[in-house]
C-alpha cells in the first residue's frame, strides 16, 4: 500500500501516479557479488563533497 503522501510529493516533482506505481511495482535485485577488482575500479560513485564528470557517463 503506497501512502498518499508519496503520491503528493511525487506530484510536486512532476511524477504521475503511473510513474510511481511503475517504479514501485518492481523489486530491484540487491544481491550482488564483489568482483575481484580493486575498490578504485569498483567505486564509481560520488560523495556530497566530491563530484562526477560528464566524462564518467
Amino acid at each position: 500500500m503506497i501512502p498518499n503522501e508519496i503520491y503528493k510529493m511525487g506530484e510536486d516533482l512532476g511524477l504521475t501516479k503511473d510513474i510511481i506505481d511503475d517504479i514501485l511495482s518492481r523489486e530491484v535485485n540487491n544481491e550482488y557479488k564483489i568482483e575481484n577488482t580493486s575498490p578504485v575500479e569498483i567505486y564509481k560513485g560520488v560523495g556530497r563533497y566530491s563530484t562526477v564528470s560528464i566524462n564518467d557517463f
Partner: protein, 348 residues
C-alpha cells in the same frame, strides 16, 4: 619508514581556499574568509607531488571558491603534468575571459558548478547573494561554448525541492551532467530546511524516473552517495554496482586549505588524521591506523539506526557526514531508503 597502503585514492578533494564570495545557507564548510594559515604555493606544489606519489587518480579543487585562490591555474597545471585528472567545483560566479581561456588550456576532466534553484529568486536566496544565478547561467553557457565538460550539482532542501522538474527541463539535452544530493545540517544549514524522510524518498523516485525515461546522452544524472541504500524498489542511483560503504579514507581523501587531512570534508574536525605540512601525505594515507572508522569498520560499529539491519555490514550505515550531523554518531545514517520503506510499506 613509509609503508605502502593497499588503498588508493580515486578522488582527492582539495579545498584550495576557504575564501568565498557567496554566503550559501547550506554551506557545510562555513566558507567566507580564508583560513588563517592556508598552504603556501610551495607547500601546495609539494602536495600535488605527494598526491601523485600515492597514485591518486583524480584531484578535485573546491573551496570556498577555488577560483579565488590566485594560483589555481598553476596548481591545476601541476596536477595535470603529474598525470592526474583535474576536476573543479565552483560556485560559478567568478569568471572572466582569462579564467575561461585558462580552463580551456587545462582541459579539466570535469568542471562542476552549483545550481540550487530553477529561478534567480530561489538560487540567489540559497546562495546568499543576488545576481549569482545570472552569473552562473552565463558561466555555464561560456563553458559549454568551449566544450568544457560541465556538471551541475544541486543540493536539495525544502526551498528548491519543487523546482527540480524545472531544473531538469533546463538541463535536458544540453550535454550537462546532473549530480543531486541531500542537504544535511552541517555548517550553516538549518535543520528545519532539510527534506523530510518522505521527501528524500520521493527525491530517489525522481532520480530513478529520469534515469529510466532518458538516456545518459539526453540527461546524465546521478544521485550522490547519500541517496541510498538498499531500496527494495529504487535502483542504485550512482554508477557503482552496489550501494557502497562510505568511501572516506578508502577511495576518497580530502584536504583542507590549511593542510588538514580528513576522509571527507563533510565530517567534523574530530576526524582529522593529521596535517600534510607536518607529515607527508603518504605517511598519513599509508598509516595502517588512519581512517580506522571506515578501513576497520565492523558490524558492531553500527549505530542504533542500523545495528539490526541485514544490509548494515555492506553499506556501513550510510553517509558518515549525514550520520554524524544528524545523530552525532558514525555508521548511523537515518536517511536510508530501506528503513524508510520499512516504515512506509511495512516491508522487510
Amino acid at each position: 619508514m613509509n609503508q605502502k597502503s593497499s588503498y588508493i585514492p580515486k578522488q582527492v578533494v582539495w579545498e584550495l581556499t576557504l575564501k568565498c564570495n557567496l554566503k550559501c545557507i547550506h554551506c557545510g564548510s562555513l566558507a567566507g574568509k580564508a583560513r588563517d594559515k592556508e598552504l603556501s604555493t610551495i607547500e601546495a606544489i609539494n602536495l600535488c607531488r605527494d598526491l601523485a606519489e600515492i597514485n591518486t587518480k583524480e584531484v578535485c579543487f573546491m573551496g570556498g571558491e577555488p577560483f579565488l585562490r590566485k594560483e589555481w591555474f598553476k596548481l591545476g597545471k601541476e596536477v595535470k603534468d603529474l598525470g592526474m585528472r583535474l576536476l573543479i567545483i565552483s560556485n560559478g560566479t567568478i569568471f572572466n575571459n582569462d579564467i575561461i581561456s585558462k580552463l580551456f588550456q587545462l582541459q579539466p576532466y570535469g568542471l562542476s558548478m552549483s545550481l540550487d534553484g530553477a529561478t534567480a529568486k530561489t538560487h540567489d536566496y540559497i546562495r546568499g547573494v543576488n545576481g549569482s544565478f545570472k552569473k552562473l547561467i552565463e558561466f555555464i553557457s561560456l563553458s559549454k561554448k568551449v566544450d568544457l565538460p560541465v556538471t551541475v550539482i544541486t543540493t536539495v532542501n525544502k526551498l528548491n525541492f519543487k523546482e527540480l522538474p524545472m531544473i531538469k527541463d533546463f538541463l535536458l539535452r544540453k550535454n550537462i551532467a546532473w549530480q543531486i544530493q541531500n542537504a544535511s545540517p552541517e555548517g550553516r544549514f538549518p535543520k528545519k530546511l532539510m527534506l523530510s524522510k518522505e521527501e528524500f524518498y520521493s527525491l530517489g523516485l525522481f532520480i530513478a524516473s529520469i534515469q529510466k525515461k532518458y538516456s545518459k546522452e539526453e540527461l546524465p544524472i546521478i544521485g550522490a552517495h547519500c541517496c541510498g541504500y538498499h531500496s527494495k524498489y529504487i535502483p542504485r542511483l550512482g554508477k557503482s554496482p552496489q550501494w557502497d560503504v562510505c568511501q572516506a579514507g578508502i577511495t576518497t581523501l580530502s584536504i583542507k586549505s590549511n593542510g588538514d587531512v580528513i576522509g571527507c570534508l563533510s565530517m567534523p574536525d574530530d576526524y582529522i588524521e593529521g596535517n600534510c605540512i607536518d607529515k607527508r601525505i603518504s605517511e598519513i594515507w599509508n598509516n595502517p591506523n588512519s581512517f580506522a572508522y571506515n578501513r576497520k569498520f565492523k558490524k558492531e560499529d553500527l549505530g542504533e539506526n542500523c545495528k539490526d539491519c541485514k544490509y548494515g555490514k555492506i553499506c556501513g550505515g550510510g553517509c558518515m557526514g549525514m550520520s554524524l550531523s544528524l545523530t552525532g554518531k558514525p555508521h548511523n545514517d537515518p536517511y536510508c531508503y530501506y528503513k524508510i520503506e520499512k516504515n512506509l510499506y511495512r516491508t522487510d
